[in-house]
Structures are given as C-alpha cells and as structure tokens.
C-alpha cells in the first residue's frame, strides 16, 4: 500500500503548502493593499506581472526558476557568494517557486476585499483617533475576512496541487523535494498504478475535506456576523 517515502511526500506537501501560504499572506497583504489604494501608473504593469503565473505553463516557470536559482544562475550565484547553498533542489527553493506560482491566488482575493471597503469608514475611524494599525486591525481585517479565507484556501490548495514548477525546480528528491503530485507521477511512470491510485485517492479525499470544512466554517461565520 503506502510506503514510507509516500508518507514523507504527503507530509512534505502539507509543510510546503503551509509555509508558502504563510509567506504569501505576509507578502500579499501590503501588496494587495497598495494595489487597492494606489493611483500610480505602475499599478497596471504590476497587476499584470502578478497574474503571469496564471497564464504561463508551470514547466516554463519552473525552467526559468531553475535557471535563476541554480548554481550558475544570478540568484544561485548570489546565495553561493554569501556562503549559502543554491536554492534549486532544496525545500526552500520549492517554497520560493511556490510563492511565485501561487502569488495571484492570494493577492487577487485580498485586493478585491480591500477595494470593497468603503473609504468613509476608514476616514471615520481616523477622525475618531484610530492609528494606521488600529484601522487595519479593527476595520480592514474584520471586513476582509472572507477575502482572507479565500486567499488562504486558494493559496494552500494551489500549492498542494502544484506539479510543473516543483518537478523542474525540485529534482524529485525523496524526503526533501518529492511532493505528493510528483510521487504520484513517478508511480504512474513506473507502472505502479495501484500505488498511484492510493496516493491520488488520499489527495482527493484530503483536498475535498479541507475545502468542505472551510466552506462550512465560512457559511457559519456569515450567519454570526449578520444578526
């Protein structure tokens, strides 16, 4: 049935998705806020740049990331120069790749949520003496709860199902960069169809359970917030 390396792949996938989602929330919040508020001419080009991973084939993205992060690439050289290992073929390389790959899935829902907050609410809070962080924590955050939930679910789920980028950038190393989707692909390629079925089934049931839980929580959250 499941081997130890299948289990490793499953845990690694969860770790990758969790770390990536966390980093994306930290990066995505200021970025989405800026995009929602700014009138800068840079907004268009930056929005387009963020949306690129939606359009580019993941293998293309993975190949460019490999060239960028590999030992001869500009970022790889920089890392090696600082006495660090190059990012390609390591867990943190996968994190870097996944952050790029899942960026639009976190930034876009946040941006939509932020853009939907009426300006006068923030102005009213400011006249009542709320500081910037006060306004963010007690006005913006509660009002964009659904946006955050969507961003977390999409960011996590998209990283969970990632394939092309991690295949190219990770090198398929068991216990380090071999995530679930790649373990399944390996089983299929080497004609171990029954193991592939098992792993795919687990991924399917797990993903469905996560999404179901989130949507159920989301609906309950709505009822509580609308008295």
């Amino acid at each position: 049935m499941l081997t130890a390396s299948d289990l490793d792949a499953f845990l690694l996938t969860l770790q990758l998705a969790a770390v990536t989602t966390l980093i994306l929330l930290l990066l995505g919040t200021p970025l989405a806020w800026w995009l929602a508020q700014t009138r800068s001419r840079l907004r268009g080009p930056i929005e387009a740049l963020i949306a690129l991973p939606l359009v580019l084939p993941p293998t293309v993205l993975g190949f460019y990331l490999l060239l960028l992060l590999g030992q001869d690439g500009p970022i790889g050289q920089l890392m090696v120069g600082m006495g660090l290992p190059a990012l390609a073929f390591s867990f943190w390389g996968l994190v870097a790749g996944s952050v790029v790959y899942s960026l639009p899935f976190v930034v876009q829902p946040l941006q939509t949520a932020f853009a939907g907050i009426p300006r006068r609410l923030l102005e009213a809070a400011a006249t009542l003496g709320a500081t910037g962080s006060d306004r963010f924590l007690s006005v913006v955050l509660p009002l964009s709860r659904v946006g955050y939930l969507t961003a977390i679910v999409l960011g996590f789920a998209h990283t969970l199902g990632e394939f092309g980028v991690v295949l190219m950038l990770g090198g398929n190393i068991p216990g380090e960069t071999q995530v679930l989707s790649i373990a399944i692909y390996d089983h299929v390629e080497s004609l171990q169809y029954s193991q592939a079925h098992w792993l795919s089934g687990i991924l399917l049931v797990f993903s469905f359970a996560v999404l179901l839980t989130v949507y159920a929580l989301n609906r309950r959250g709505f009822r509580v917030s609308v008295p």
């Binding site: 190059a86 390996d186 390629e189």
Partner: protein
C-alpha cells in the same frame, strides 16, 4: 496565538526534516534514473545495498529533465540516461570527467496491446481500421520513438501507419495510452511489457529493424560509494537480471 504556535510547529517540522536529510547524506547515493529503467534498478537495489553497505535513493524521471537539472547543479551522484546522447552532451559540457560514462543496458522494442491472447505483429498494423490508434514515444525526444519509426520504415509500413500514430511524451506515457485503451497498440520498451500490470499481448520487434537503443550512465560525483555503484552496474554479474527485465547486457550483443 494559536496560529503562531501552529506556524512554529511547521517551521520546527521543516528543520527536523532537513536535519534528517543531511544526517543520512553521507552514505546515501542519489541516482537519477530513466523512467524505463527504474523498476529494474529497484530490483538490483537490495543486492547492491547488501553487498556494499551503501544506500540508494532512486529519482526516476525523463532523461531530458534530468539533463537540464544536472546542468544546473542537481545533487545527483549517478545518472542513468535512456539514451547515449545526453551523457555525451554532459561530457562535452565538462560536467563529467573523461571516461566516466559507460553503456549499462541495451533497450529492446516491443509492440504491445492490452487485449489478451492476440497474435500481434508489425505487419498486422497495415490492416488497422482508420479509427484505430497506434502510440509511439515522440521520436524527437525519445530513443524508443526513434526506434519505432525506424522499424516501421524498414518494413515500409510508416506511410500506412502514420495517420494512426499518437505520440507520448516518453515511453511511459506511450504505454499509458495503450493501457488505458486510448490506443489499440503501442511501441514500448520490452521491460515495460514484462512489468505491465496486465499482461496483454505483444511481439518483440526484430533487432535488425532498428538501431540498438543504447542506454548510457555517467558518474557525476567522485566518491567511493558512487564508484562502487558505477562498477556494480557494469559488472557481468548482473547480466541475467538485465535480461530477465527485458534488456540486453552491454557486451552480450
């Protein structure tokens, strides 16, 4: 607060995992192996591990991807390619030292169908209905695809069969086309036929109809363990295993 401790746990988990990985790095060899040979290498693995005391980590995949990754510094010790060209390209690029490549197996081409108890032959392909599909590996990428095209051409069947051809990215996908029933026949590696989840029916393509499918390997990192595996895989002692798995041993042919 809860979210914070959750995060810390995740990070701790990652650190532990990385430590574990580096702790056993010393005597574990990472072997990038062509998909078509990975099941065979897995057969040899326990024998090698027992005899040498080293451990193997198999990283199956397409040789094109392995080649791109090795060119960008992938931490593999040995590379068993599905062809000879990529190994020669690595040598030309200075990624491997002179003389550190060898032929480890010769692949054999077979024509396979999922239907049991069929009499399969190349000549029967000429009588296919227009709607029936024949799968080959993309000859631009895969040596088994090139061999299939050559065999069809040698029998003057290529023009007849061409409208029915569908192409897999590699010989693994090509097998899946026939296994799933999307294609009635597929030109695959004999090694796949022997390890197929369902026996189906097959015919071996005669050796004279195509150029030998030479599979070469390269030593990527100098270490006692890597040399041990490199020598083990080119020793005549493993020839019977290779032949049972559907290959010719390098010097037998």
């Amino acid at each position: 607060m809860a979210a914070k401790s959750f995060t810390c746990l995740r990070f701790a988990g990652v650190v532990v995992l990385l430590l574990q990985a580096s702790a056993c790095l010393g005597d574990t060899l990472r072997v990038a192996v062509a998909s078509n040979f990975s099941a065979t290498l897995a057969l040899l693995q326990p024998d090698f591990e027992r005899a040498s005391g080293h451990r193997l980590q198999l990283i199956p995949g397409s040789s094109g991807r392995h080649f791109a990754q090795i060119s960008n510094g992938a931490p593999f010790d040995l590379f068993l390619s599905a062809d000879a060209e990529r190994i020669r390209a690595l040598e030309a690029a200075g990624r491997i030292n002179a003389g550190q490549r060898r032929v480890y197996a010769l692949g054999r081409l077979a024509l396979w169908t999922r239907e049991a108890n069929q009499s399969v032959s190349l000549d029967r392909l000429a009588t296919l209905a227009a709607s029936e599909r024949v799968a080959i590996a993309n000859p631009r990428l895969a040596p088994y695809g090139q061999a299939a095209v050559r065999a069809l051409t040698a029998r003057e069947l290529y023009a007849v069969v061409e409208p029915s051809l569908v192409m897999g990215e590699n010989v693994g996908q090509t097998f899946q086309f026939a296994y799933s029933g999307s294609a009635r026949f597929a030109f695959v590696a004999y090694s796949q036929v022997l390890s197929a989840p369902e026996p189906g029916s097959y015919a071996l393509v005669p050796d004279d109809d195509y150029e030998p499918i030479v599979q070469e390997m390269a030593l990527l990192k100098e270490s006692e363990a890597a040399h041990a595996l490199f020598d083990y895989l080119s020793s005549p002692a493993i020839a019977p295993v290779l032949e049972r798995a559907g290959y010719y041993a390098p010097n037998s042919h």
